[in-house]
């Protein structure tokens, strides 16, 4: 589904990703861990298409298609979703208008009919319940004045609404209380099907008790230096990153 080959990425002439290789197949959950500043968010931003980062070498293909020339919006319509480490506040734009624009864009891209106003509202209601987001939040401007945890939940709500094929969750667990963490994880597990994949970036083994990964990778200084199964996360929790370097 997602194939990354020898990916090198720079910003302002500084190399941040130094040859990343990663293959994600449908139905898989990959966890990426690694110390602060190792390039985890950079990798997720580059997959989603942020243009401030320069890809100097390597390839990213998604569902057999080279996505490097695609705009972020086209990548989203192709089925890539990024839950932000720091979701952005958009004053003056209501959650409803935001989601409506996103859903309509997706349908326009695929030439399909968008849901009717009634269906759309019904969908909002369902997905809200799924991720345990309070109804009052969808009546407000996007993330404006939301608490840290509410913003994270909102990203998961948006993921549920847009139903992506590949979702990258960048430290979605940071800032969530234990109940919220469980609800979000349940949401992810409900959305998980055989044709979908998740990349879960986290610092804590705790999240992986709820979202069980098939693979765990350690990103260090712009490279994946170790890959393993779920037990690698436990080992990291115990020993830290020093032994890998």
């Amino acid at each position: 589904m997602l194939t990354i080959k020898d990916l090198h990425v720079s910003i302002d002439g500084k190399e941040i990703l130094k040859g990343v290789n990663l293959t994600v197949n449908p139905g898989e959950i990959h966890a990426i861990m690694g110390p602060n500043g190792s390039g985890k968010s950079t990798l997720s931003n580059v997959i989603a298409g942020r243009d401030v980062f320069e890809v100097t070498q390597g390839e990213i293909s998604f569902l057999g298609k080279n996505i490097l020339p695609l705009t972020p919006e086209d990548r989203a319509c192709e089925g890539i979703f990024l839950a932000f480490q720091y979701p952005v506040e958009i004053p003056g734009v209501s959650m409803t208008n935001f989601m409506k624009a996103a859903i309509e864009a997706k349908h326009a891209y695929h030439g399909t009919t968008p849901p009717s106003a009634g269906e759309f509202l019904q969908m909002i209601k369902e997905k809200q319940q799924l991720v345990g987001m309070s109804q009052s939040l969808t009546g407000r401007a996007v993330n404006e004045g939301f608490s840290g945890g509410e913003k994270k939940k909102n990203d998961i709500f948006q993921m549920a609404m847009l139903d992506p094929k590949l979702a990258i969750l960048d430290e979605t667990d940071s800032g969530l209380d234990i109940d919220a963490l469980k609800t979000v994880a349940e949401g992810v597990n409900t959305l998980k099907t055989n044709d979908k994949a998740f990349i879960v970036i986290t610092h804590y083994q705790r999240l992986l008790d709820y979202i069980i990964p098939d693979f765990v990778h350690v990103l260090h200084d712009g490279k994946i230096v170790k890959s393993g199964d779920k037990s690698l996360a436990l080992e990291l929790e115990e020993k830290g990153y020093d032994w890998i370097k």
Binding site: T71, I90, A101, A105, Y109
Partner: protein, 402 residues
């Protein structure tokens, strides 16, 4: 063809009214604004005084033009003017709204600037709105048309809102051609005890039309005055908003949105005078500028020593969409009382790239995301307009500029 000074000089000479003579003396006392004066430094208005103009071009507007202008709007009374003269057949006056007939009324206020003096002396007509005590709230629509090559129009609207009564007024100023047109307009509002007045001013002007207007409001005890201005198009639109609180517990809400594009230049100069205690003034002005558009916001606040417990806020947020667009923002506070709360904030920046990026990752194109973001920005101010039909019309006009 003559200059504005010779035109109004002639009018005050012919009139035996002492008010006219007094206003003319005030007019003469104000210097001709030059860019050296702090309040006039962004636009040269010399030619308003030195050029020769036609003051009463023949009438031209048609019923179709009026219908197109008021199409979607709801109102209780309609007053139509063309180049400052009342249009009897097109108007639908009622018991509270009609046109000024007598030239000078008893308590004409002092003028606050040279343009306002000229308008008060030279205008032959304008809206006359007298809301009697405890009258139910109505919406009066004023449509003022302007046309005529090298024409100069003067109009004055007078609004008296008596104690315990309420009124909503919307004025559309429309120029019908791309000829050089000058409009000098004044609105004098008096809000008596416990009354309220909401005045919304909207300009749809041609590419060579310049308009300068002063909207002033004198506020008595516990009155509420809301003044909003929305220049939609025109070469130059300057609105001076002046509120003067002479008794306690009077509140003013002042709003505006300016969106200069191409060569447009829009200015709002606000002055709030607090002479009595426990009054409030809340200002919200926002702007977007693109191409080589220029926007100016100046917000002056004067709190006298006796105006204790004054509470004011001033907010000015601007977005520049191009490197060549400019917005100047100037808050000025003069506070002589010690027990007051007066806050102000001003920001001018580019469109929020992080917000655009966030929306793009949800599949929304950069262009659509920009529109959504700017629409949200505009809505902040437009939502202050209480008449739904007016609100929607302004929103639509501004969205068309995006």
């Amino acid at each position: 063809m003559q200059t504005i000074t010779s035109y109004i000089h002639h009018i005050q000479q012919q009139s035996n009214n002492t008010q006219a003579k007094q206003l003319f003396a005030e007019y003469e006392a104000f210097p001709i604004p030059t860019k050296r004066l702090e309040d006039w430094k962004f636009k040269d208005t010399q030619d308003w005084f030195t050029s020769l103009y036609t003051f009463t071009p023949p009438s031209k507007i048609t019923q179709q033009q009026l219908d197109a202008a008021i199409e979607s709007l709801q109102f209780d009374a309609l007053l139509v003017f063309e180049n400052g003269l009342y249009h009897n057949s097109f108007s639908r006056p009622n018991s509270i709204a009609s046109a000024i007939t007598n030239d000078f009324e008893a308590d004409i206020p002092h003028c606050t600037n040279k343009f306002e003096c000229a308008s008060l002396i030279g205008a032959q007509s304008g809206a006359a709105i007298h809301v009697a005590a405890k009258h139910e709230k109505q919406h009066v629509l004023i449509v003022s048309f302007f046309q005529g090559n090298q024409s100069y129009s003067l109009q004055k609207n007078r609004i008296y809102v008596h104690a315990d009564s309420h009124i909503i007024i919307t004025e559309l100023q429309i120029s019908l051609s791309d000829e050089p047109i000058r409009i000098n307009h004044s609105v004098s509002i008096k809000c008596m005890q416990k009354s309220s007045c909401e005045y919304t001013s909207v300009q749809h002007l041609g590419s060579k039309t310049e308009l300068i207007q002063t909207i002033s409001c004198l506020q008595e005890q516990e009155s509420t005055c809301t003044i909003s201005n929305f220049p939609i198009s025109g070469a130059y639109v300057r609105t001076n908003v002046y509120v003067d609180k002479i008794a306690p517990h009077s509140h003013a809400f002042l709003h505006g949105f300016f969106f200069p594009a191409a060569q447009e230049h829009f200015e709002t100069y606000v002055e709030a005078i607090h002479n009595a205690p426990e009054c409030e003034t809340h200002q919200l002005y926002q702007g977007i500028a693109k191409d080589t558009g220029i926007g100016v916001f100046s917000g002056k606040l004067h709190v006298a020593r006796e105006a204790q417990k004054t509470n004011t806020t001033q907010n000015n947020k601007n977005i520049l969409l191009s490197k060549t667009a400019k917005i100047h923002s100037k808050p000025q506070l003069e506070i002589y009382a010690d027990d007051v709360s007066c806050t102000h904030g001003s920001t001018t920046g580019q469109i929020d790239n992080e917000a655009l990026w966030y929306m793009q990752t949800r599949g929304i194109s950069r262009e659509a995301a920009t529109k959504l973001l700017l629409k949200g920005f505009i809505t902040d101010v437009i939502s202050k307009v209480s008449n739904e039909s007016v609100k929607n019309a302004i929103m639509k006009a501004l969205e068309n500029k995006l």
